[in-house]
């Protein structure tokens, strides 16, 4: 997924405030182009999150949303949870990069629960993020491990938010959600539109200049 993370990083403008979800989204931080300054927000109270420290230098009181040790860069600041979510809900975060279980053709996102009866439900900050950040970007494998499409007409898993996703980056394509439709703006090298459509559970449109 590193090429996909690179693609996301290239598309985030200089000066953006960015919240990265847990897992694959964390890779994006590794690919910020030289000369571009992006400030990372972590929901547990830090703006200016830096890279993971060496194994023996971690501070258990300096962690990210995934509860992993991180660092604070010069210019960083700490704040409490209500302020952190005011940044999120109040529309101050420019980009939020999240993983997905499913995304629908009109931008519904399911990423917190498979709805299985014996699962322990856990939501964290995902619903606040999709309700509040200015741009919701999904980074994900195009299909599940079993080869089922993750981009579908209608999500079957419980929703995180309705009509919230702006753009989807996968190993096969970059797809924009506009006017309740999916517009392919970029195909990965060697991927045809026909192959992409065959591996997608919703109807795709081709941007004319793609």
């Amino acid at each position: 997924m590193s090429e996909v993370a690179l693609q996301v990083a290239l598309d985030i403008p200089n000066g953006s405030y960015v919240n990265l979800g847990i897992g694959i989204p964390e890779l994006v931080a590794d690919y910020v182009p030289q000369g571009r300054e992006v400030i990372y927000h972590t929901e547990n109270g830090l703006l200016g999150m830096g890279p993971v420290p060496s194994a023996d230098a971690g501070d258990p009181e300096l962690i990210n949303a995934g509860k992993k040790c991180i660092t604070a860069l010069p210019g960083a600041c700490f704040f409490h949870h209500a302020d952190s979510f005011s940044m999120i809900r109040g529309g101050h975060i420019d980009y939020c990069v999240l993983g997905a279980l499913q995304v629908s053709a009109d931008g519904d996102l399911a990423n917190w629960s498979t709805g299985e009866p014996n699962a322990i439900p856990a939501v964290g900050g995902a619903m606040d993020l999709v309700a509040g950040a200015k741009n919701i970007v999904v980074i994900s494998q195009h299909s599940t491990k079993n080869g089922e499409p993750k981009i579908v007409e209608t999500c079957t898993y419980p929703l995180t938010g309705k009509k919230v996703v702006n753009r989807i980056y996968t190993n096969l394509a970059v797809i924009d959600v506009k006017d309740n439709r999916l517009w392919v703006s970029k195909l990965a090298p060697g991927v045809s539109f026909e192959y992409l459509q065959a591996n997608t559970g919703a109807i795709l449109q081709m941007e004319s200049d793609c």
Binding site: N44, K67, H81, R89, V123, G125, G132
Partner: protein, 237 residues
């Protein structure tokens, strides 16, 4: 003279009663007042409703409080984490109640509770299972759900330093829910790694004003939950 410093964690939690609502600070182990939680286990109050972002890990701290069957209900955003075993087991058996709340809604409900605001509207959880059966109102062209404030009988909070008035400063991302939980309870009990004289905390950098704090306990070298979990320790020792 105002002196909120109390001699021991045991004394600080001695009036927590059966059935109380208790907020516990922390995001994972960062900011979790583990010595105060252990004192609450020794004290033995039962049938508690706990408001905390997670449910603890291993068999120490919040997880040990749950394992000791003192908790009737958890109000949290993320009840499972790496090494969390106690809560999932009891929940699966139907022996503990869960109110799952989006994290920002949880924070704002606590802040509102401490600020005299009974309820508010938020866009988080609209059109999702967590927004079901909640009043929805449209402002502009957007829908919002009504959420009610949370208040507590007690809050247990960890900070880096305090003075005898209860003014507090925190450590890095261990601040998290601490400041709002101090506001959200009738009786806020704080453990501080360091006690400073009045004026020892620059008034410009006080994070929690002392008015929100009732009691302060000096815990000079708090244990780290992750260290105890790695050593497979269990509380009571």
């Amino acid at each position: 003279m105002i002196d909120k410093i109390v001699g021991s964690a045991k004394d600080a939690v001695s009036d927590i009663f059966d059935g109380a609502v208790v907020m516990i600070s922390g995001f994972g182990e960062a900011g979790s007042p583990i010595e105060l939680i252990h004192a609450l286990i020794d004290h033995g109050a039962r049938n508690l409703t706990i408001v905390s972002n997670n449910t603890g890990s291993g068999h120490v701290g919040l997880a040990a409080l749950i394992a000791n069957r003192q908790v009737r209900k958890m109000i949290c955003s993320f009840p499972r984490t790496a090494n969390s075993k106690v809560f999932p087991e009891l929940y699966t058996k139907g022996e503990i109640e869960l109110e799952l709340v989006p994290q920002g809604t949880l924070a704002e409900r606590i802040r509102a509770g401490g600020s005299g605001i009974p309820a508010f509207y938020t866009p988080a959880s609209v059109n999702t299972p967590l927004g079901l059966n909640k009043e929805v109102r449209v402002f502009g062209e957007r829908s919002y759900v009504l959420e009610h404030a949370l208040t507590a009988d007690f809050s247990l909070v960890k900070c880096r330093a305090a003075d005898r008035y209860g003014n507090l400063v925190y450590n890095k991302t261990a601040r998290n829910f601490g400041p709002i939980m101090c506001m959200g309870a009738r009786t806020t009990i704080v453990q501080a790694s360091e006690i400073l004289p009045l004026g020892g905390i620059d008034p410009e950098i006080v994070i929690t004003p002392g008015i929100f704090v009732k009691r302060v306990v000096h815990i000079p070298n708090p244990v780290h939950e992750s260290v105890l979990v790695a050593e497979n320790r269990r509380y009571p020792w």
